[in-house]
């Protein structure tokens, strides 16, 4: 026994005193409690002839043409479409903080950042069964398309008319509670309820401007151009001190091949207050992840936006169908959009609109951080207030995106 013990002790001394081969490769990099991510999107865009709604024009896409002595003319521009900064933090008690600020100078009419998201979130349980609660600045979780980095559309450059509007026009300060549960059969159920202030003018854009196609990410401190003159409308707008209430139900099969989603929101707006709109809508969506790397999305929205004065009560509806095929770094998508606004009160200015659009997009990733995308949109829309004008017959974009 003693020789073995002596040998062991000698080996121990050697271990302690002699330099061993460097073993730093076994060290685990410390996970930071704070993290930063960013997104930069630069594009060459060729819009339709009419100036964009973001320039107070009748154009229905984010980028349009310009005024000329003979009417409208097309423009090709190099633009900084988005600069997004995301900050995150792990906090005590398993809490997570998350903030996102965006610069979209063409939409904001300047380079001041918009606060897109600022939340505190806590979850209990696991991915199988659990609860979550969060508070802060957030959108509503109704878009099936805004699932890319920094809440950008994942399948195309521009989102559908339906979800473009959701992310342009809604930014609330409030609370959300969420529950998710995988049943014994594997079916996953989810329910989310939320309440938030700042939605008193949800629907105003649709009534005054109609549906548009783009990728604007609204912020709580932002405002958006209206078609008349130089007027703008605040995204966060609270006069009646009634919170918007919303819910989102999800049903997903065991293999997560199919998901059915249903959402409802009512801003509970008190029309007796000047400038307050009472808007409610419901939306239903389907996501299918089919064989051969094909994704299928369809979503429908139907609702009503009412206001006392001026009389612009409108029924709004839209749907889209999107098919996307991906292979490794590449994705090819096609989407059909249909949208409509129906004037309910026959006011002096009709809000009637109908239109449809077809979008084709090809996206390719280069490494972890780079994406190049091409998109073409063909659109046909008619709005009674602008006569026979079809302001945006088509438009194209080439986007380079850097993700840090």
């Amino acid at each position: 026994m003693f020789p073995a013990l002596a040998r062991n002790l000698c080996q121990l001394l050697l271990c302690a005193l002699l330099p061993l081969p460097a073993l730093a490769q076994y060290e685990v990099p410390t996970q930071q409690s704070l993290w930063v991510r960013a997104l930069l999107d630069v594009r060459i865009v060729g819009g339709g002839p009419a100036p964009s709604w973001t320039d107070h024009g009748p154009g229905k896409m984010r980028y349009g043409g310009s005024n000329s002595p003979t009417g409208f003319e097309r423009d090709t521009q190099l633009v900084l479409s988005q600069a997004a900064l995301q900050l995150g933090a792990s906090l005590p008690w398993g809490m997570r903080a998350q903030v996102q600020m965006n610069i979209e100078h063409d939409v904001a009419d300047g380079y001041h950042p918009w606060l897109v998201e600022a939340i505190l979130r806590r979850e209990w349980g696991s991915g199988e069964r659990g609860w979550g609660a969060q508070a802060g600045v957030t959108n509503v979780p109704f878009s099936l398309e805004h699932t890319g980095p920094a809440w950008t559309p994942e399948y195309t450059i521009s989102a559908s008319a339906l979800t473009s509007w959701l992310w342009e026009d809604i930014s609330l300060i409030g609370v959300e509670g969420e529950w998710w549960h995988a049943t014994d059969t594997g079916v996953r159920l989810g329910a989310l309820v939320g309440a938030g202030y700042g939605g008193d003018q949800i629907g105003r854009l649709l009534a005054l401007l109609g549906w548009a196609i783009g990728d604007v990410i609204g912020g709580v401190n932002g405002d958006l151009a209206l078609p008349t003159g130089t007027q703008r409308t605040d995204i966060f707008n609270e006069h009646d001190h009634r919170p918007a209430m919303y819910g989102w139900l999800t049903l997903v099969d065991e293999s997560e091949t199919a998901a059915l989603k249903f959402g409802y929101i009512d801003n509970l707006g008190n029309e007796d207050h000047s400038g307050v709109w009472h808007t409610h809508f419901n939306t239903i969506g389907v996501v299918l992840h089919l064989p051969k790397r094909i994704d299928f999305l369809a979503q429908y929205l139907d609702g009503v936006a009412r206001v006392h004065t001026p009389p612009n009560d409108s029924a709004v509806s839209a749907y889209y169908v999107l098919v996307s095929h991906h292979y490794g770094r590449q994705r090819l998508s096609a989407r059909y959009d249909s949208f409509r606004v129906h004037d309910l009160d026959g006011g002096p200015t009709s809000t009637n609109e109908h239109g449809h659009a077809v979008t084709g997009a090809y996206l390719v990733q280069f490494g972890l951080r780079n994406q190049v995308a091409l998109e073409y949109i063909w659109m046909n829309s008619h709005r009674d207030a602008t006569g026979a004008l079809n302001p945006t017959p088509d438009g194209w974009q080439i986007s380079y995106r850097f993700r840090y």
């Binding site: 062991n8 271990c15 730093a24 076994y26 792990s90 997570r96 980095p149 989102w248």
Partner: protein
């Protein structure tokens, strides 16, 4: 410099292990990994640091799965020269990557079994992440020897199949304050089963909280 916890390990192994051999079983070395407060440490890896055997080619590949936006298992110890498959059983895309010096790679957005195998040909820690879901984190521990064991919830381990000879064993844990060499314990395998104890003080952890709800669906 021999630190307090290490000194305790040395004393335990030097005096307890040689004096308390366990006879008659197939396992060659068994024991515990305990933290500074004496509690068992789960998910620690005890492995043979030296000698390193000549490794045969053609080992079967291992699997690091992705289920419900989680790497499964969260810790995968393998022997150097092993390939790993990264199937994604979520219906959302993952973009698996590592910037670790032991292996830098990325598997661009994919689902199912689309991603190719990755060969791990250098010893060390490979921290795995998802470029989309920042809370997803996994570790592949690439080891110099096929003789390793992961501790159970009580911190117990069993190292089987060690041929007779002299070995240096070390213990590793993601949160260990000690480098593996600071835990080294020499062991002679001569037919008896030997018990050893590793003392592994751990740093506090604050993992990045997950988003399992609808806001984590991208």
């Amino acid at each position: 410099m021999v630190t307090g916890p290490r000194l305790r390990s040395i004393i335990l192994s030097a005096f307890l292990a040689p004096l308390t051999p366990v006879h008659g079983g197939a396992p060659a070395v068994s024991g515990n990994v305990i933290s500074g407060d004496g509690k068992g440490v789960a998910d620690a890896v005890v492995f043979v640091l030296t000698p390193t055997p000549a490794l045969p080619r053609g080992r079967p590949s291992q699997v690091l799965d992705q289920i419900h936006k989680t790497f499964v298992p969260g810790l995968l110890p393998i022997v150097v020269g092993t390939s790993v498959r990264f199937p994604n059983h979520d219906q959302i895309h993952h973009h698996v990557y590592s910037f670790s010096p032991a292996k830098t790679f990325e598997l661009p957005l994919y689902k199912g079994e689309d991603a190719p195998e990755v060969l791990f040909d250098k010893v060390g820690v490979v921290k795995i992440g998802c470029n989309i879901h920042d809370w997803m984190s996994g570790i592949i521990l690439v080891l110099p020897s096929p003789h390793f064991s992961v501790t159970d919830v009580d911190g117990r381990f069993v190292l089987e199949g060690l041929p007779a000879g002299d070995y240096t064993l070390v213990a590793w844990h993601e949160l260990s304050k000690l480098k593996p060499e600071a835990t080294a314990q020499p062991v002679r395998i001569d037919g008896d089963v030997t018990r050893i104890v590793f003392n592994l003080p751990l740093a506090p952890a604050r993992p990045r909280p997950a988003i399992h709800g609808v806001w984590g669906e991208p």
